[in-house]
Amino acid sequence: MASIVRLSSVCRRGVKPLFFQTTLLARPLVVPHKYQEQPYQLTAKIHASQALYAGSGSKAASMHWTAERVLSIVLLAMGPVAYLHPGPVMDYSLAAALTLHGHWGIGQVLTDYVHGEAKIKMANAGLFLLSTVTFAGLCYFNYHDVGICKAVALLWSK
């Protein structure tokens, strides 16, 4: 329900909806009575569905976008929580969230600047390798060394 209200309020202001749904937004258009056999509303239809125009029917890109924002918010929350409750749970959570956020972020940078099928593939493969090594390294640090939370604390103790 909330999403429908949201969409219609956005629609009234003439702003393009940001959360893509497959429902249509309708602005009623009343037609002069003499043209109507039975009263009904003709509507101008505005598509909120990105998938239809894409022609592929895939919601993958849209879901990725949403996941990126959700992760950003989760990462934001992790800051204060890590400050208040440092320890292995936060260490590994931060390792995962930071790595993934960075991976997706650099992924967008590559999408913007790298062109050509082969180059895109190579760049993304390189990024994947880098992110994997980064996550491995952070986990190693968490396990064998002081851990991320303690490391930040120590850095500021001087």
Binding site: L24, Y35, K45, L98, T99, G102, G116, G137, L154
Partner: protein, 174 residues
Amino acid sequence: CPLFFRSLARQGLCLSRTPSLQISPLLCRHVAPMGTTAKEEMNKFWAKNAKLNRPMSPHLTIYRWSVPMMMSVTHRGTGIALSGAISTFALAALVLPGNYPFYLDLIHSLWVGPALIALAKIGITFPVSFHTYNGIRHLWWDIGKGFKIPEVYRTGYTVIGLSVLTSVAVAFLV
């Protein structure tokens, strides 16, 4: 009235697609066929222009720089820098012998004074602060708010101010 006939035609199109139902306009779907995706179009653009060896039009060198533009670049720059720093740290953890406190003491023995230490702290805190505050600004945009130009500038200056304040506070007070 052409508007009426166009609407009727649309209605008629919809009716023919699902003849068994009493069609509510809300359930009716437009067919607006586009042969390619945006991604395909972009690839075609790059392929064609690269093949013809066309130079790129000047952009960064001629466009008038603005605060929002610089903040966007900085957001990306800090993001890349922070990601690079994290990856470097992770790699170092895997490759270097010894442990973190050891290296921390090593670095501290090299520092020549409190000024340099403060500078280093700001150097770390500012990118994190800026990227975080501007990230919140981005999320604000993502829910559709704050796009009017005065708002863009207002939130922008707020981010810059907060970043500077946070960096200085964390560097000197903690």
